[in-house]
């Protein structure tokens, strides 16, 4: 898929600044830095070689040393043509960066926590000068997400194990209610809809596993002989397609479906909503149906509706028994 013009343009302008600040930088270094193939960087250099002011006469172009470039793959330019500064950060970009840093707070290392105020101050200074701001780096750095101490401690422990290459030990209750004690070399920590999820090599199961942090207890980092690092990108196993479950809901469910894990949500006849789920765990689907219960009209396959209704009646019968026989 071709890159958008804005992506290429941002890279070209940043390259000018970098080449001007670090003359003799190589094509290979730029390729690695920008995460693009050398062929793409060379195409970018060709664009820069054809860029300039007015009629592109000498003195009005970057004047890349083409001999040095073609013979040794190194880059210098005579003049940055007033592009020696980075591009300004827009309001939209700044808002997203600050908000993301706030969300990341529980996962920051001590070093990152220390550099955060200065990083934010630099960003503030680099903002596009469209309007005045009362924000400052130190106050922005104190913003933290709403998170329980229990979760914060677990995230910190897993993060530390990821950084140190050690293991975490914990007790775990899976979705089926089975207890286990685990020792895991984590390879990734991901925040998903249901919360933080850790992936890693489970030394108990002797295979790659995924664990929800909210199902763990007594989690701590433990010193262990360094295991060979599991490449998180290559270890992700292909997941078999789940069962497709279709839920028909009345229009009042619209607000609740905004954050739904449904694969798709479509408008159906008479204003109804049709939500389609991929299901690997029937208990999970039952829980989702209960969460949406006031709005559910039908479910296909039908047994999900029936089983969830039976489950709800059993739960209420227990309560009713207590009301009937309890006494002051």
């Amino acid at each position: 898929m071709p890159e958008p013009s804005t992506t290429i343009l941002a890279r070209l302008i940043s390259m000018v600044r970098i080449i001007d600040a670090q003359p003799g930088i190589s094509v290979a270094e730029l390729a690695q830095f920008f995460g693009r193939p050398e062929k793409r960087i060379r195409a970018d250099i060709d664009l820069l070689d054809n860029a300039g002011v007015g009629d592109l006469l000498p003195g009005r172009t970057f004047e890349i040393d083409y001999d040095l470039y073609t013979e040794q793959g190194l880059l210098t330019l005579r003049s940055p043509l007033n592009l020696s500064a980075p591009l300004p950060i827009t309001e939209r970009e700044f808002a997203r960066l600050v908000t993301a840093l706030q969300a990341m707070a529980p996962t920051l290392t001590d070093t990152e926590q220390q550099i955060l105020p200065q990083t934010l101050s630099t960003l503030l200074a680099a903002r596009s000068r469209m309007q005045a701001s009362t924000a400052d780096g130190d106050s922005l750095a104190t913003l933290t997400p709403a998170i329980s101490e229990a979760t914060r401690a677990k995230v910190a422990a897993v993060q530390k194990a990821l950084t140190d290459g050690t293991v975490v030990v914990f007790d775990y209750v899976n979705g089926a209610g089975r207890h286990s004690h685990r020792t895991v070399s984590p390879s990734a920590l991901v925040l998903e809809r249901d919360g933080w999820v850790m992936t890693g090599y489970c030394h108990t199961a002797e295979s790659e596993r995924t664990f929800r942090l909210d199902r763990t207890t007594n989690l701590s980092e433990a010193q262990a002989a360094l295991m060979s690092a599991v490449d998180a990108t290559s270890s992700s196993q292909g997941r078999e397609p789940g069962e497709t479950v279709k839920v028909t809901l009345h229009s009042g469910a619209a607000w609740a479906l905004r954050e739904s894990p449904a694969a798709t949500v479509e408008e159906g006849p008479a204003g109804r909503l049709l939500a389609t789920y991929q299901v690997w765990d029937p208990t999970w689907m039952r829980t989702e149906l209960l969460a949406l219960a006031p709005y559910v009209e039908d479910v296909s396959p039908h047994h999900y509706l029936e089983e969830t209704a039976v489950y709800a009646r059993q739960a209420l019968e227990e309560t009713l028994q207590g009301e009937d026989t309890g006494s002051a």
């Binding site: 958008p4 830095f33 970009e93 908000t99 840093l101 913003l143 559910v296």
Partner: protein
């Protein structure tokens, strides 16, 4: 004369360079002539391309000034509108910010352009290591408008979808709150006249400034109420059936049994002969969403005592589900 086809990035770059290297400013016709790739200057489509390129530059953060001179507009970018030349980020700072960009990765080019922009601030060309921690935040259209409104103390207006349906809201914003992947606006609802939380994913329209700057009084009821960081956290008190509900049991601790009269309520207490089957427990302090999911999952073996809103919420959902296909059971 037919101009050779010029790639859009080169055309826009040349436009930027010409705008940066003029003191007086240049007119549209002049720019479309010297910058290759626009074609005929009097062509309507070429003019549209030119205006779109100007917008591209503005969206990238460049302040393109337009002045009316001699009955024609002139364009320029002042070099002083760029960050100071020494504005540098260390390798660690660039790595941190690139991770922050990953939170918004939606496959669009906008975030990739931001990554390239941030790399331009770097003092070296060390490629940062890929992080093993990943998260993606829910979409937040209008986040920058809300942040700007917070900084300028201006109210914002938007259409919002709640349990009661869609409605127009006008809010004096105080703060953006992050909760897991979700983003909320914490502010004073100027219609309900009380502090409220609004989830960005339920905004039906992009927020817009509702009034000029400094129009929202900072004193009295609109003065910022500090957001309680424990707002979303609960410690439910429950009755849990012995030997069941492994997830709830793992995340709660036993409470001393109390006499039903002391408890002040008999409705939720089991029958005396059943009391040995149930144990009072208090849950660990955790996000209400997590507890709601646990309790719905194990609803058959757990009865919520406190908080009352959670007991009512679970009860409502169970009663709704129990009523499904009631006519089939009759």
């Amino acid at each position: 004369m037919v101009q050779a086809k010029v790639q859009a990035p080169l055309r826009i770059l040349n436009l930027a360079l010409n705008l940066l290297n003029t003191r007086e400013g240049l007119g549209r016709v002049q720019l479309m002539t010297v910058v290759r790739g626009y074609g005929a200057t009097d062509s309507a489509s070429a003019q549209r391309v030119f205006e779109r390129d100007i917008e591209h530059l503005r969206r990238m953060g460049l302040a393109v000034d337009v002045q009316d001179r001699f009955d024609a507009a002139t364009y320029r970018i002042s070099a002083s509108s760029l960050p100071a030349q020494g504005t540098i980020l260390t390798d660690r700072e660039v790595a941190l910010l690139l991770r922050a960009v990953d939170a918004w990765s939606d496959g669009s080019g906008e975030m990739e352009a931001l990554r390239n922009k941030l790399r331009g601030f770097s003092e070296t060309v060390l490629a940062p290591q890929q992080s093993s921690t990943r998260f993606s935040l829910e979409s937040a259209n209008g986040l920058e408008i809300v942040q700007g409104a917070i900084e300028q103390a201006r109210p914002v207006a938007f259409d919002y979808l709640s349990q009661k349906g869609a409605s127009q809201r006008c809010v004096a914003p105080w703060r953006v709150i992050v909760r897991g992947r979700a983003l909320y606006l914490w502010g004073f609802d100027l219609d309900a006249w009380e502090p409220r939380l609004f989830r960005f994913s339920r905004f039906l329209t992009v927020p817009a400034f509702a009034a000029p700057p400094d129009s929202t009084p900072s004193q009295g009821p609109l003065q910022e109420v500090a957001f309680d960081p424990d707002f979303f956290l609960i410690q439910p008190v429950m009755l849990v059936r012995h030997g069941s509900s492994p997830i709830t049991s793992a995340h709660s601790t036993p409470l001393p049994e109390v006499d039903s009269a002391e408890a002040g309520s008999t409705a939720a207490m089991p029958a005396p002969e059943d009391r040995g089957l149930w144990q009072r427990r208090v849950g660990e302090r955790e996000d209400a969403h997590i507890w709601e999911e646990r309790l719905l999952r194990e609803a058959r073996d757990v009865r919520v005592l406190e908080p009352s809103w959670l007991a009512e919420l679970i009860g409502t959902r169970l009663r709704s589900a129990a009523a499904w296909r009631e006519e089939d059971r009759a």
